[in-house]
Amino acid sequence: MLTRLGRFMSSSKTISFFWVTHDGRETKVEGKIGESLLENAHRNSIDLEGACDGSLACSTCHVILSESLYDVQPEPTADEEDMLDLAFGLTPTSRLGCQIKITEDMSNTRIQLPKASVNMYVDGHKPKPH
């Protein structure tokens, strides 16, 4: 892993991939090897929040990877998993964009943004006493 990362960090290579919004719109972007998906999104004006600035204190940069891309990522840390627990519309291939570095594996892949909002709280719902 270290050698793989090390090789990528030192290169100024770029790849192309696609951001896909929740309504299916695709935006082709250039990704710098070694930058995070969150950094890439902000550089390309993709509507991905990053409220805590990549400090693993929120889950607003939630992204959904393809299965094959998910499988080649380093395992999420417990801290990232803690935040994924709270992410909206979690899927089996969800990750936080601030923790995923762009690698050559991502060439031409699609990175999906989750559903923008979920009716988690039905207005007028009665909280249940415990």
Partner: protein, 442 residues
Amino acid sequence: MALRFAVVGSGPAGFFTLKSLIRALPDCKVDMFERWPVPFGLIRYGVAPDHGDIKNIIKDFTELARCDNFRYFGNVFVGKDIDYLTLSQIYSGIIYAHGAASADKELKIPGGEKSKSARQIVEWYNGMPNCEDFDFSKVEKVGIIGNGNVAMDVARVLGSSIERLQPTDVAERAFEVFSKSKIREIDIYGRRGPVQAAMTVKELRYLSKVPGISLRVLQDEIDRGLSPESQNEAMLNSVQTNQRERARKRLFDLINSLPREHNPNAQVKINLRFMLAPISYTASYLTLARTNLQGPELHQVAVPSDETFKENCDLLIRSIGYSSVQIDKNLPFDQELGTVKNLGGKVEGNNYVTGWARTGPFGVIDTTMRNVFQTIDTLIQDIDNNLLQYKPDSILDILKCRFLTFKQWEKIDQYELNEGLKKGKARSKITSVDKMLEIGLS
């Protein structure tokens, strides 16, 4: 004439609203009203001093606030300085995002009135103006009723060494009290079991890692909470198939991994306790009853048994929830739910609501953000249906009270940061409204 919006409240919901409005309607104008001179609501007065990471969001909000479409009106209390009907007349749309941190639930047991509110303790150590002062100088053992994230924050801050708190932006009035603290032990009481614990796994993990604090659970209380229904709620014995089960299982695993005995060298011992209902509180004793879980999966309630006992408790803190209050008599409000009445974020006419004023105090910042998106979607539909009108700029003719602009807040910000720097703190918060106004308007 332009599409002019008023946003009530400058916390996360208010600023996410600003962000969504500007993104959707780049030519619109947004005025934000905040009751305090200083902005950011719960980020400033709710997030714990040792949670610097989430306070990073202020950078993003500050950048947003510098855009030309935006004006900040600090020290303007909607409902007092300007009312609902006036705002409704002079703005194209009003988005209420004033939060929920106002009205506390009572602890309905004999002696419950002697308990202190966790929310008020949080506001006190975070430097909110006009707070009750607390004195813990005679307190050795604390009991906290409720085990949500506010309880985790209070336990962590009360259990922290002064060395740990010193560099944070903790209010100096609280730091002085903490430096004389004799607190040795904190019990956190949940009526139900570990599967129904209310905190998020992140906050519990954080508490478990604080140097000097020993956190433990009691095996008999864990066992008592593991009814067959509870085990199913987290699918403890098979595969978790949805997000709720996954989160429940991960939280249970963390709770179950905590030690059963305290580290004898710890400065402060915290007991995470379950299946206990408070019965009464007198002087320095809390009487508790062991509970049993009854009812179907996901709807189990804790029923107190006849088995009662006493625990020492010099300070009883209730962390059992709070709600919003009606800030203006004309703002439609559900007194029972403690939220502004709405459908999909729409209140009535050109009035909308979002964040905790809409939902009550639930969820994390991501929840609030998604909630804002939904309210703004509703508002955009109304624009598409020509329900909102263009308006002239008239607020400055109407507003009679003194208010602060965002630039004036930035003077206060700079002052607080400079004072903090001198004292080796992240920030030295001003806790008096008069002093805020004096520095801001100077």
